[in-house]
Symmetry: C2
Subunit: 506 residues, 2 copies
């Protein structure tokens, strides 16, 4: 950070839309049960078999191996095999629901139960917009994206590595990213996982913002831990799990399961594998600190068997989401599910076809935390400014969807039928006047004008409208207040850390 | 028809993809139950109240009024009110499942139960393609679209008025449309509903193709009957219901329910109204001929309260689909549900965002017949050549989705885990080699190449790929054989009918 010029946001008369704080969606509709009891029991049984017979490797992490041996697992070399029942037993201490606090207390989120939290894309090296095309992400992009996420009422979580700020050294950029989340947003966020010491730095910075004691007693930072599927935790990943869990912070355990590549060419087997991997990661966190919050991460899709590339937003991955949601509910863990996934290189029809398929399945599967819910392109290689606001608009629709159809007398509108009668219209009737303002979700980027009106105003497709929207959002952005003492402490911490390390670029 | 030049399709060495006949998808996954018993009973009770207290008008149809009076309804002027239980009683004769035959017996479809049938867009005055933009539909377009629908293995039904052939007189074009369905396709199709005599013509032509006796005993033609919601059947519509039902053919009873305009500004009330309207239409068919096939048509969405325009692919309409599916299953009627709906003027991101939202809800709601499943743009004002093939590709994915996750030993792939072990990959293992060919749906229009490979090949978005696809499909098209005697009889019938009528253009 630091050194990158930062304009003072212009004051505008209109309050930002973020004035209305939405800290998560409430699910008032049932989750979809794809499988019956028999199927779920079969998956659980095959998972036990897999964990006992094949097991999992922990690469270069003697601490983890020692913990597993003490817990009663069968450890041979770096391979760990699990007796039936061990992981389920360990997971009894994992909370079914917990709160992640935010710098702004009003933005704390509840994870688990009937709560659904949306966060932006994660981990993209490239950014894209309609004007500049595709390019490596910079810290300026990272700041912009953090601000755009802050501006959307439908994104409750600031995310983590929303793009890789590739203009900063790879061993220091985590400091700048955590700083940006704390400085330019007041929503909950995620810390670094690329090395245990970077995880420590992230938590240290959270301590500066929240206070050391508060952090030890409360979750204030999450971490997205991708496994090296199949069935491997490398040192960085298991190390990060241990660091976050020890600090009572929340690792999200996410297998990277691609049927046909990192998993068998069958969704049922892929789900079974992913479930097994998640249990191991979440149980490790409980071994380190019983009661530490953990999240069951679901990332199951397939490869395109012609090109070897991963696929996204497919029917197979939607089915996997539904099964994973059921398994997570049975074991009582909050679940992270798939976001606005797509293989498309541009925010075109394919991108929304795939993203909506994934998101709809995620929401109906009972997801509690939907990271990657906005901005995705190109299998997470690129985050798009336009798609970020397009997806966020769709997440608003998902908020409405999750409300379901409340069975109130007013909703049956019997007085309207009596007033209007056959052949009339309901535009001006009393029931409409009482309810029209809140009746339907107003999708701001969906054009519903007539062809003629749309043509006269330039005939813009959704991407062009989104381009205007994110620019307008950045213009209207106002930074949430940050205690100057905290700001100074964060800056000081970063400066010290940066001075102590050489710059590493790859 | 006739007079429009018709090229003989070129013979190509490769068999058309339609060589593999798919006559419908089988649902191997449960439908989604949004509402609990309490909610469904409430809707049913309010519907009874609405039908008894407010009732329905039948405009200028003394026959229908007489039938209702004889059945025990309260008829005053053109208003019909229904005593509780009457409609449910009448609907006991409606088949829960029936077969619509096709000219090619192998393409017969089963409607109801676990069967899901997809058909194309219906009723669009405009067509659009990437080269020619938006223009009024012609009979040439109608033929092209019929051929494209024939070419897709994922569209089981040829539809009806896929576009309005506006270059033909409005009082004669139904003849040409029925002819085109019979000549250029051998899939099941729909007849005219715009006037009772045009409905009769449609059925007469079906008799020429299938034989009079066969038609009296079997369903060979469907008809999409849109109501004048709220709570009105005009003469054309109730007349068409009577004509089709009398001939033992299948009317699809479709309310046109837009919350805030033709229904109250509440989805629960809109669903209750639509349900009530459907019951009346389906029961009328049973009054005319007990046992005649009927379909519960669901078309419930809302208006944009800023512009007054209808909205499509919204969260509210998805919720309505789920509720309607449950109501249809309870009363034991096959259900037609929403298709690839969108307000977008072009096949952009908005279009697929909305279409997939509607289609996913339709498929999960338990839809048996999804008309409007391909080609939609602009609230059914325009059918797009590109979107037709894009949507059809997505319907292929829905076929895979409906298969669910079969619980077979082979699907658990335990041998693959033993073979590969932690940290390996599954590309070449025995289980993959046994299963890769059929494991995943191959979405032909979804690009999954790397950014570099995609860029080198022109960096096409989905619409450009779709443009090449439909042109290639038309080049590869081969007409299914039609008995020359039948062809001649159809031509003769049309010529006679046309000669007897003046040309009417509006």
């Amino acid at each position: 950070m630091t050194g990158s010029p930062r304009r003072k946001p212009r004051r505008r008369p209109n309050p930002a839309p973020t004035a209305s704080i939405i800290t998560g969606a409430k699910r008032n509709i049932p989750a979809y049960d794809l499988l019956q009891e028999e199927g779920l029991e079969l998956i659980e049984a095959r998972s036990e078999q897999l964990l006992q017979e094949v097991g999992v490797r922990f690469l270069e992490d003697p601490t983890a191996l020692r913990l597993w041996q003490e817990a009663g697992a069968d450890v041979q070399g770096d391979r760990v095999r699990f007796p039936p029942g061990l992981l389920h037993k360990l997971l009894e201490t994992a909370p079914r629901q917990f709160r992640q606090h935010a710098r702004n207390p009003a933005r704390a989120i509840d994870v688990g139960g009937n709560n659904v939290v949306f966060g932006p894309g994660y981990g993209m090296p490239f950014v894209r917009d309609l004007d500049g095309g595709r390019r490596y992400g910079t810290y300026r992009d990272f700041e912009n994206l953090t601000k755009l996420v802050y501006m959307s009422p439908w994104l409750h979580h600031s995310g983590g590595t929303t793009c890789e700020p590739t203009d900063l050294p790879v061993n220091k950029r985590h400091l700048d990213m955590v700083y940006a989340h704390l400085k330019w947003s007041d929503k909950p966020f995620m810390g670094s996982v690329t090395a245990p010491e970077r995880a420590e730095d992230s938590i240290d910075m959270a301590r500066l913002a929240f206070g050391t004691e508060f952090v030890d007693r409360n979750c204030v930072i999450m971490a997205n831990i991708n496994m090296n599927s199949p069935l491997v935790f490398d040192h960085a990943m298991s190390g990060a799990i241990r660091v976050y869990a020890a600090a009572n912070q929340c690792p999200v355990i996410v297998p990277f399961v691609l049927g046909g590549a990192t998993a068998p060419v069958s969704m049922l087997a892929a789900v079974t594998q992913a479930y097994s991997e998640v249990l191991v990661g979440c149980a490790l966190a409980q071994l380190v600190r019983p009661g530490a919050p953990v999240i069951f991460g679901n990332f199951v899709t397939s490869v395109d068997l012609k090109s070897g590339s991963p696929t996204f937003g497919t029917p197979e991955s939607a089915l996997a989401s539904y099964a994973a949601g059921q398994l997570a509910r049975r074991i009582g863990l909050p679940i992270r599910c798939s976001g606005a996934f797509t293989s498309s290189k541009v925010p075109d029809a394919q991108s929304m076809m795939e993203s909506v398929t994934a998101l709809h399945a995620s929401v109906l599967s009972g997801a509690n935390f939907v990271l990657q819910a906005a901005g995705w392109l190109e299998g997470a290689l690129t985050i798009s400014y336009e798609k970020l606001v397009m997806d966020a608009d769709y997440l608003g629709a998902m908020h409405r969807f999750l409300q379901g159809l409340p069975l109130e007398d007013e909703s049956f509108a019997m007085d309207a039928f009596s007033e209007v009668g056959p052949g009339g219209h309901f535009f001006g009737c009393a029931h409409t006047l009482r309810n029209y303002e809140t009746a339907f979700y107003d999708a701001s980027l969906s054009d519903r004008q007539s062809f003629e009106a749309w043509s006269e105003r330039g005939g813009e497709d959704m991407v062009r409208r989104a381009n205007r929207k994110w620019k307008e959002d950045l213009r209207r952005y106002e930074a949430p207040p940050l205690d100057p003492g905290v700001d100074e402490a964060l800056m000081h911490y970063m400066a010290q850390k940066k001075e102590a390390l050489p710059d590493i670029w790859h």
